[in-house]
Amino acid sequence: MRYKDIVLSTRDALSANKMRTVLTILGIVIGIGSVISMTSIGQGAKKSIEQSIQSVGSNLLIIQGGQVRTGSTQISAGRGGAKILTIKDLQVVQALDTLQAVSGEVSGRYQIVTKGKNTNTQVIGASPEYEIVRSVSVDIGSFFTDSDNERKAKVAIIGPTTRNDLFGEDADPVGQTIRIKNISFRIIGVTVPKGGSGFTSQDDMIIVPLLTAQHYLTGDEYVGTISASAWDTEQIEEAKTSIQQALFVSRNIEDASMADFSIISQADIVATASSITNTFTILLAAIASISLLVGGIGIMNMMLTSVSERTREIGLRKAIGASNKDIYLQFLFEAITLTIIGGIVGIVLGVSASFSLQFLGIIQTAISLTSILLAFGVSASIGIIFGFYPARKAAKLSPIKALRFE
């Protein structure tokens, strides 16, 4: 039988029972549609996390005390917890000319009090270079200087969210006083909103000079983390090696496996975040695939019903000269047509659903051509897989028995 005639006979067969055809296709539409929209949500989350990490500064290297295995899967949650690095280490790293800027940091959460209002937020003690290293821009006022740091000035830069919490939306708090751990600090600046969310919002924090923080807040000489920025992205590995070697010498470490500090680059963090969001995407896609599987079983169910309803027709076709292959192709083609139509409608539906989610500002989504092509391939394969058994059953019918079938 010619392929053109198979197509025409498929059209006739599927339009003979339109309601059943539409309902069967609906199963595939929902399956493909949900796979597309779910993966777009996963990909969107990945993109948004990567963007917020990149906004911190892509040349960033973070040195912290303790052994942290980086790579793609593990980053310590208690970053800066170990009291290992000191001001001396900071000075060693600051002396390296492979780095553009280096900032020592300590951090802690404190209750912040101002007139009548209070909040609990992250307070970071940092070197003045923090502004460069972490790409922080000051919106109102100015950042503190080296001299503020050296004379342990009680000055603070606050994030926009903290400002909103303490002084109200868009207020100018420069010159006002806040109390951290019952010590008064004068606000000298407010940072530009950076967005980003999660456990450590860059907009909800207070930055004070490092030496001030050590003297008034932590009460010791330790530095939680040292952040450094390389001159550019290509020189990150080189910068990382130079920091490692300098610290090995200064801390008398002979064997790299005995290192009591670790260096994480921005790339490591992005890789970790990507691997998390990839898992998340796979999970979402796997859940959506269940509906696709159910849709596929719906196709098989319809095809089996169709084969048994059309047993006499199959018998007749065989009697007048249809080969097993003709019958097999006819039924398989019907199944594939159902899934391909369902796949196309599902793709349109899934793409519009994810655009709507993005457009309405509910969640960021990202659709890749790969996922569309994959969805199309999957829907065609479902037709082949779930159409195979009914088509083979039809092809194997004995013409004598089929013609006698009531």
């Binding site: 065989k318 009697a319 007048i320």
Partner: protein, 232 residues
């Protein structure tokens, strides 16, 4: 053209017991004959029709169709024999519902991969030879009367220009008047176009339209006679 020698067919029945439906059937049918195979139900005539129609193969014996032993062919080869040599007419018509008369008639040509234009031409010609006017060609098959449906089925059996037309109780679902019209159609195809027609029936009146009568009972031939020609 057809030569059956010692054809036997043994089945396993529902209980797995062997059951012989045909015992050593031997006969010949020449080209252009109009033969009725008659017998009561259970006589083995359906089994014989299945073998003659290349739907089934005998357990033993040989069936030569144009010097080709059909008895030893594979399923795929039997398909080709049916496609090019046999035209079936069934008691229950077996037209595809919700499709046009013309499409039903072209159906066998789809499998012999004839071009669409050519298919329509052949089908129209076949419908003409069974006296179904062109106004019905676009009708859906379920919009016709029983007699018209059976004539469409006969037209469908003609399109591949088969060597044999095998009609299984073609008037079984028709009243006597329309049945007579259908039988006239067969007679005319035999007389005017020289077609070889094998009519399988349990009805003596129907069988009397043929030129030759083979009576089968309990799987064996009990009578094989040529009817004396009567002018009608």
């Amino acid at each position: 053209m057809i030569k059956l020698s010692d054809v036997s067919k043994t089945y396993n029945d529902d209980f797995g017991e062997p059951y012989t439906a045909l015992h050593n059937i031997t006969f010949e049918i020449k080209e252009g004959e109009f033969v009725a195979i008659m017998g009561p139900s259970g006589s083995g005539k359906s089994t014989l029709m299945n073998i003659l129609g290349a739907l089934d193969t005998p357990t033993s014996g040989s069936y030569f169709l144009d010097n080709k032993n059909v008895a030893s062919l594979t399923d795929e080869e039997l398909t080709l024999i049916r496609r090019h040599n046999i035209g079936f007419v069934f008691q229950s018509f077996n037209l595809l519902p919700r499709t046009s008369v013309l499409y039903n008639v072209t159906l066998p040509l789809l499998y012999s991969e004839v071009e669409e234009e050519e298919r329509k031409k052949i089908a129209k010609h076949a419908l003409e030879s069974v006296d179904l006017p062109e106004q019905y060609h676009r009708h859906l098959s379920n919009q016709l009367s029983g007699g018209q449906i059976q004539r469409v089925a006969i037209a469908r059996a003609l399109v591949n220009n088969p060597k044999i037309i095998l009609a299984d109780e073609p008037t079984g679902n028709l009243d006597s008047k329309t049945g007579a019209l259908v039988l006239d159609t067969f007679k005319r195809l035999h007389k005017d176009e020289g077609r070889t027609i094998i009519l399988i029936t349990h009805d003596k009146t129907v069988a009397s339209h043929a030129d030759r009568l083979i009576v089968i009972k309990d799987g064996t031939i009990v009578e094989d006679s040529v009817k004396k020609y009567h002018a009608i």
